[in-house]
Amino acid sequence: MSYAATHDQHDDHHGAPKGFFQRWCMSTNHKDIGTLYLIFSLTMLFIGGSFAMLIRAELFKPGMQLMQPYFFNEMTAMHALVMIFGAIMPAFVGLGNWMIPLMVGAPDMALPRMNNLSFWILPFAFVLLLSTLFLPGGGPAGGWTMYPPLSLQSGSLAYAVFAIHLMGISSIMGAINIIATILNMRAPGMDLMKMPVFVWSWLITAFLLIAVMPALAGAVTMLLTDKYFGTNFFNPGGGGDPVLYQHIFWFFGHPEVYIMILPAFGIISEIVPTFARKPIFGYKAMVFAIACIAFLSFIVWAHHMFAVGLPLGAEVFFMYATMLISVPTGVKVFNWVATMWGGSMTFETPMLFAIAFIILFTIGGFSGLMMALVPADFQYHDTYFIVAHFHYVLVTGALFAIIGAAYYWMPKWTGNMYSEFWGKVHFWNSVIWVNVLFFPQHFLGLAGMPRRIPDYNVAFANFNMISSIGGFLFGATQLIFVGVLIHCAFFSKKKATDRVWEGAKGLEWTIPSPAPHHTFEVPPVINDDELAHGHVND
């Protein structure tokens, strides 16, 4: 069944273009564009991370030591925008670009030129966004949610809005490309219900993106016209309603948080079976659970708004719908544990990150369930309890899955094995310091510390200091990751085999390591036993 390794026989016409500009700026190759996305997202991770370091430095002890409150607000808003739109989402798109064609046996994405465009919009969007920090008016300082009327006071609103439009266009094009690839470019025999869970998760995520990114674009367009063109969509002085913005924003915002976690579910569903050497437990239930979560994500948005004074009926509805999400999410966690049960496990770095994901994401899910309960949320809302919750699901959830995926597929990308020792050093430091960083924030929130404040009462001093120390060390730990990546790509002497991992299954492991510039020009023959989830017809 293996792909005929005819790479060497190809002439230059089929290899990677030689010139740097030709190869990277003009690329239509899904692997090169995937690499670009991943490098971009790593860069943004460090830029957004440096904002987080500044935030934690200011919060190290009570009293204002380093910055003016307005700059602190710019940092909280920019940290979120950069991490969400610059680090997490492009990382998943990069992984999807690299792996989806390889996993479904397609030669490339369905629309390679549009793929190039989707990527190259992003650097410009972020130059636009980050440049506001150097402009007289300062950057957006109303939080990443940009609630009016506050956001309408910002002088750099237009920059932020245009940057978000560009990111949105990029995401929508990327999503269209991924759906078109998955629906039209699968190798013969790769039925939908035989696709790897990662591909399924991306298919569903892409639909979410198409359904909600335009809603965000619409909301921010209305902000723009409210500020510059005299409309009154959200301006109460002119008969507008600031709460309507929140409804539209969270209609985007809640599916958005699943956009950032569903591909992570897919990644974990690839890594766990590989290192447990056992097929994924309940493949159909896993796919169905992702679809369920995606559907529910459209009817829970107002749980971000329990404190805006919704009618009782609405609060009850959104509470029930939100609680319901824990059922399919629970199924996923149980299925990962059941996949491990009865397996034959080894614990390479990707598996360690996957296990940490399962535990820590579940903790984030628990606090999510707690804040679904409206009366309790009246206390939790807009406190550090919320901050702790979404960092548990986004850092130890989405980011850990991305890092795990990078370790998992890096040998396939580079052809070299990474340093297992340094990978484990990176893992243990990450998992310890991230908990030192975020766990105390639960206590801060319960004790009454609001979010997005640059200074606080001395009662919160102890846990803030612990959290900041964890933050600095977690940030520094990520430099190890960069070291491991550079070593693996350029200096590692240990060549990776085609299969890389003993228990690895799926089409991506049948091609040589490193993956040749063009793959599956001849569609592969699908052998059901070779698919990661084993026999689905059980």
Binding site: G240, S326, G342, M345, F366, F443, I453, D455, N457
Partner: protein, 303 residues
């Protein structure tokens, strides 16, 4: 310095013990506080108990799931010679672990819904206070008390001047030194607190004059947004006299972190006296009222 540090850590340890085991009504957050406070109103135990029940449920589920996972990690290791089994499906357990969470959720939903309906019922209030958020201070207007409308009692309430001086960038002042009595009040004190009577169902009508704020005193058990153009309502019935502190909870611009809320709950007799004084001073000529308003917080602090 050293003795201050020791004393500080000693009080911290004492407060930790108190916060972890005691359920005393805390008026303000304490160092090392681990859990939500019970609050000081008739409704505030609802979120407190719901929080504890939900935390307990989550802890039990977490312990079960993670133990199963760790047992799997230790039993089914390749290094111990484990051989992978082939099964990948089991309808019975899948049905079980879908059904049990649903049952747990129904219980939680029942508890939460009954708590919520009692919160939403603002009828039968004996007093109304209008709260208006501004960048970056609060305004309180007394609308009625025991069925009688109140004439022109209202004032702005903003961060106390000591906290305000201390919080300036590079002030060199110690936030730990900002105290009222033994209580650390840095950023949690105001020039003129909201004064309300105990054992009275108070209806708060909350709105804003500029951007969205959120009025949050943890002792009431709730927060609610102050939104321009919209009037929200909520109620609280304080059970114990005392001073309760909170903060604005919705990002509202550069001084969002510096617009605290202080509610002083007085006995009914003391409140009636306070209200009479306020009404008298508001009826006096405007100039006199102004001086009284400036003088009042100072007098209040000393007394």
């Amino acid at each position: 310095m050293t003795s201050g540090g020791i004393r500080r850590s000693f009080t911290a340890a004492a407060a930790l013990a108190l916060a972890s085991f005691g359920s005393a009504a805390l008026a303000a957050p304490g160092p090392w506080q681990l859990n939500m406070e019970r609050g000081a109103s008739t409704w505030s135990p609802v979120p407190y108990h719901l929080n504890n029940v939900a935390l307990g449920v989550c802890t039990v589920i977490g312990v079960l799931v993670f133990s199963a996972m760790f047992i799997a990690i230790f039993r089914f290791r390749k290094s111990r010679g484990a051989v992978a089994e082939k099964w990948s499906h089991n309808t019975t357990v899948e049905v079980v672990w879908t059904t049990i969470p649903v049952l747990i959720l129904i219980t939680l939903a029942y508890l939460a819904t009954s708590g919520l309906t009692s919160w939403a019922d603002t009828t039968g209030s004996q007093m109304t206070v209008k709260v208006t958020g501004y960048q970056w201070k609060w305004r309180y207007d007394y609308v009625d008390y025991l069925g009688k409308s109140i004439d022109k009692v209202g004032f702005m309430s903003k961060l106390d001047s000591r906290s305000d001086r201390t919080r300036q960038l590079g002030s060199g002042m110690d936030p730990f030194a900002v105290k009222v009595g033994d209580e650390n009040t840095y950023l949690l004190d105001v020039d003129k607190p909201l004064v309300v009577p105990v054992d009275t169902k108070i209806r708060f009508v909350i709105t804003s004059g500029d951007v969205i704020h959120s009025w949050w005193v943890p002792a009431t058990g709730w927060k609610i947004d102050a939104i321009p153009g919209i009037i929200n309502a909520a109620w609280a019935n304080f059970t114990t006299p005392g001073t309760y502190r909170g903060q604005c909870a919705e990002l509202c611009g550069q001084d969002h972190g510096f617009m605290p809320i202080v509610v002083e709950v007085k006995s009914k007799a003391d409140f009636a006296k306070w209200l009479a004084e306020q009404e008298a001073s508001s009826k006096a000529p405007a100039a006199a009222a102004q001086t009284a308003q400036v003088a009042a917080p100072v007098a209040g602090k000393q007394g």
